[in-house]
Symmetry: C2
Subunit: 290 residues, 2 copies
Amino acid sequence: MIVLKFIYIIRKVYDVGDILEKISRNGRIAAITKYLIENPNKVIGLNTFSELLNAAKSTISEDIVIVRELLEKMYMGRVETISGAAGGIRYIAEIGETAKKDFANRLCEMLKDPNRVVPGNFIYMTDVMYNPEIISKAGLILSSFFNKDEIDYVVTVETKGIPLAYEVARNLGVQLVIARRDSKVTEGPTVTINYVSGSSGRLQQMSLSKRSLKTGSKCIFIDDFLKGGGTAKGITDLLKEFDSNLIGIGVLVDNVGTNKKLINNYVAIAELKGVEETGEVIMNPSLLFQ
Amino acid sequence: MIVLKFIYIIRKVYDVGDILEKISRNGRIAAITKYLIENPNKVIGLNTFSELLNAAKSTISEDIVIVRELLEKMYMGRVETISGAAGGIRYIAEIGETAKKDFANRLCEMLKDPNRVVPGNFIYMTDVMYNPEIISKAGLILSSFFNKDEIDYVVTVETKGIPLAYEVARNLGVQLVIARRDSKVTEGPTVTINYVSGSSGRLQQMSLSKRSLKTGSKCIFIDDFLKGGGTAKGITDLLKEFDSNLIGIGVLVDNVGTNKKLINNYVAIAELKGVEETGEVIMNPSLLFQ
């Protein structure tokens, strides 16, 4: 079982069985753009569009050239051509370098607000992690680092990083997997591991349903905040139980104030140096975005 | 504080400061379509597009008419015009009736697989809840019930319903709020309530950071599965502590096999009648989608 591939008959999905008249080039371009953006990283055959829009494949090819050129010109993503029998086109969600830097700067400005410091010198980031406008952009930036890796799953651990990990999974066109802090009756048999938090040294647990991933998978781990790296290390161990590998890590904020990291290969959008006794938050875009 | 509105200077975001030449109508239509779809339920002034695309407002108006007509013709959503000084256009994510029914049917087919039944007669739904291809469509369907309500927040409780609630929040252009089972140090002061699970009668807890929502807010609750309705009732009580109201509930699957419901006003995509001793799952699209 696992996932019965959920493929739609596209005419049905778009409810267009009764459209008989021809659609203009402008109309086709709007439809193709929408369809591509809603199906990132999926190979879509030209006949899908040909059927949906009641137009010849050669016409659709011309339309696609126009969409591709505009997206590239405006740094709005790429349209790749995949040749061969199972070929077609694939939309890669992307964002320009200036836009990435601009986002990282605005994010830091927002998170540096001294009103965010809560008792224990933690920074309140929950509203940011659950804000679709911010997280959709952060997800776009993080997924751009992994869209050549042909990964099978995006993995996270509950709770705060879930929307971000979901956005990355959506952009990469793969399944999201969420490790739980405790196992639930609705998950069936689970695999549970113990791991040591890199920063506090405390022993913690995480679980995954045995059904949640296929053995031999390539995964990336996405989270809100990286401190000592203990959780990322725990994910690596958990994935080993599924004969699967962690091949990349992406986080929104890296706490660079923590000297001893258990991991050393990851991407972060912002770097937290620390919180001063005055309440001042020292944070800046990570080197990639300066 | 709460959320410093995260508004971008659009030319910066799209990294197009150096585009000087005119973009063709086809190109503008692709760009406008992409921008609208990525910013659902937000009012966007015509001058935003005018600046982004280096074109007169009258030209942009004509482009928008073309995009609007295509989207409506293909049941791909609506473009509303908001007049007045703060006016502009707003994209409402929508999906046709046939597509909704088709989705509900396919969802039921998938969930009825007897291999999904795990010990305790629960149905394993985790893979479905974390599949972006499925959840983006389910989110589109659920949000279409609430896009006239001008809500302030989409609320859920960790963990399985988070991606679905996130999709609904994104479509409605509002903040997501996630109640936790236990309070965390990074959340600052929290409000915690006890509630009784409608089906098991067990006492449970949920918490929300005091910072997570403004008083006097209109909220909807989105979750994966509705059984006795105890959680939805708990959310109502929790929101009362913020002088806020729950005005709607949407779930993927309603367990109609549970007779005594603590709530009675909600929308569900599918209805679970029960799991037979033979392992057969009795499930069908809810009345709205038949």
